[in-house]
């Protein structure tokens, strides 16, 4: 079996598509997370494949489903945080020999195929449907929801994992060389770090609306506070450090106006969910969380970087798609839980959603109000990547757990958790899922 990459048919990219045909008929039930680490320590039991198996088994157990009842598996094949296995570096044979290997020796170490997972999880004996959702869990969730809705699988796992090796982020490879091929040179010769594009959008935003970088501090503090209540997260597990305004504002610039903490910390992690049809989900161990819609944006910038106009057009359009297909409005959102890695674009997502009536240019002022999990307007109750490290998964886990009423110390108390949306990554081009405690 060769696993295909999801085609356009799996996504809802356009406005005017109406209510999602499977609204309320697909549910998320089980959640699984492997322990996080800053970097891979080289042991077989902590390689990206091993932690993926761990997360998947936990999601299965969490849902209380027999593994042979699972017939689908959606995987994000890419696992890099920016760290690559250097060319010429000897392969870790002890790790490779600890698993059933595919014909790619770095499978399970620096990437993850569905075939590798199935070979190393013999209990998944009835999986007949596999598919790749590229890049992010946000994407793979759209694929999973659509697949279950379309009947390609009735009980489907979805997993996203990350590997991080020694060395500094993105500093190897072409960036360490003396020359670049001509086409990438056109964009890369100038040396913008990963957060540069977002930093520029934020700079334009601040100029347009008269805002400042300091105004991000309450959001950052709130996000880390929530993250420290996420027992699956990196900061909670390894370095339970707060991120107060002094901490945030004293940190060094990476690409001003983006500082160190505006960049999420790359980690080893794996997150997995078990989805099923609403009927089957009803008999599982956890309360089903129903999918009301999924929506995507495949908008690209006209030239090198998205302008603020392009960003605002697209986040507004994304908001309309989310609401249209789910048959809800912004008023239905119990809390806000969009992506935040980089933190400086979180306000674009929030404003595009129009959460609590917020318009363009207003989010940073909103951050200065009560955005805590105890208040009436929780912002990023998951804490996101700021709160728990780079995974692009926390907001999804949090939406599911909040609506199941088992978010623990993160549980929102100022609102009743009924409907939520999560997704990302970037404001231009992302995938979003609408979750509901009830199928209607």
């Amino acid at each position: 079996m060769t696993t295909p990459i999801a085609t356009d048919a799996m996504y809802r990219n356009d406005e005017g598509m109406g209510i999602w045909e499977h609204r309320g008929k697909v549910a998320a039930v089980g959640v699984g997370h492997a322990p996080t680490a800053r970097r891979w320590d080289g042991r077989p039991e902590t390689c990206v494949g091993a932690i993926s198996i761990q997360a998947l088994r936990q999601a299965i157990a969490d849902a209380g489903v027999a593994p042979d009842q699972i017939d689908g598996l959606v995987v994000v094949r890419e696992t890099t945080t920016g760290a690559f296995w250097e060319e010429g570096k000897p392969l870790p044979m002890d790790v490779i020999q600890s698993f059933q290997q595919t014909d790619d020796p770095l499978d399970g170490i620096a990437k993850l195929s569905a075939e590798w997972l199935l070979a190393n999880m013999p209990e998944l004996s009835n999986v007949k449907f596999t598919m790749y959702g590229p890049g992010c869990m946000s994407n793979a969730l759209n694929v999973t929801a659509q697949a279950v809705g379309d009947g390609l699988a009735h009980t489907c796992l979805v997993v996203k994992s990350w590997h991080n090796f020694e060395g500094r982020y993105y500093q190897g490879g072409a960036n360490a060389g003396d020359a670049l091929p001509g086409t990438p040179a056109i964009t890369q010769l100038w040396g913008g770090p990963a957060s540069y594009s977002t930093a520029l959008q934020f700079a334009e935003y601040c100029r347009k609306y008269g805002k400042t970088h300091e105004m991000m501090a309450p959001f950052m503090e709130n996000s880390r506070r929530n993250g420290l209540r996420f027992p699956e997260g990196y900061w909670a597990q390894h370095r339970p450090e707060e991120l107060g305004p002094e901490d945030y504002l004293a940190s060094r610039w990476i690409a001003k106006p983006a500082n160190l903490f505006d960049n999420d910390i790359p980690i080893m992690m794996s997150g997995a969910y078990l989805f099923s049809t609403a009927e089957r989900a009803a008999d599982m161990k956890q309360k089903p969380v129903y999918i009301l819609n999924h929506a995507s944006s495949n908008t690209r910038p006209r030239s090198l970087l998205p302008t603020l106009d392009e960003v605002e057009d697209d986040t507004a359009r994304t908001g309309r798609k989310i609401y249209e297909g789910a048959g809800i409005t912004a008023d239905d959102l119990s809390f806000e839980n969009m992506y935040d890695g980089f933190s400086l674009f979180h306000q674009f997502h929030l404003e595009g959603l129009g959460f609590r009536g917020i318009k363009f240019g207003e989010a940073l002022d909103f951050y200065a109000t009560d955005i805590s999990i105890e208040g009436p307007n929780p912002v990023s109750p998951s804490g996101g990547n700021v709160g728990s490290g780079r995974s692009r998964v926390w907001m999804h886990t949090d939406c599911i757990q909040q609506l199941q009423g088992r978010a623990g110390e993160r549980q929102v108390t100022g609102v009743t958790p009924e409907v939520a949306v999560s997704g990302g990554p970037m404001p231009l081009g992302g995938n979003f899922t609408v979750w509901s405690a009830s199928p209607d």
Partner: protein, 137 residues
């Protein structure tokens, strides 16, 4: 600033050849009557490949936006940190952007909106690279 050298590939060869002649050329789709940058094998507007050609532009523009790079992933540029990294909008089409280190402009003192003109600077292997300098009013 010493940029990495450039080894032109088939797609980018006309861009870099023109740069060595101190001309700025941008990909242009005849069908869409639109400039396109960065270049591609096909037009991002109409998906056609055979309607693309290269058009010489004036080399005039304005500074649209900028950031200051303090932690650069490119090793060769790290010695110059912190440095300005601006985005230029072309006079012919403000939707077309180009990067610039804005030689001569003090760090974090960038006149957003100011007029600039293209210049060409040698990279590590001698390939000339388009850069931009502020035009005195």
């Amino acid at each position: 600033m010493a940029k990495q050298g450039v080894v032109p590939d088939s797609l980018s060869q006309p861009f870099w050849d023109a740069a060595n002649e101190e001309r700025l050329v941008i990909q242009y789709c005849l069908d869409c009557d639109q400039l396109q940058h960065p270049p591609g094998d096909t037009c991002r507007g109409c998906s056609k490949g055979d309607e693309l050609e290269w058009k010489t532009v004036s080399g005039r523009g304005t500074i649209y936006n900028y950031g200051v790079v303090h932690d650069c992933p490119v090793r060769l540029l790290q010695q110059d940190q912190p440095f300005n990294l601006a985005v230029i909008m072309l006079e012919e089409d403000p939707g077309i952007q180009m990067f610039s280190h804005l030689p001569g402009v003090p760090v974090d003192d960038v006149p957003v909106g100011a007029a600039v003109e293209v210049i060409f600077e040698p990279s590590a292997n001698g390939q000339l690279v388009p850069e931009w300098r502020v035009v005195a009013d």
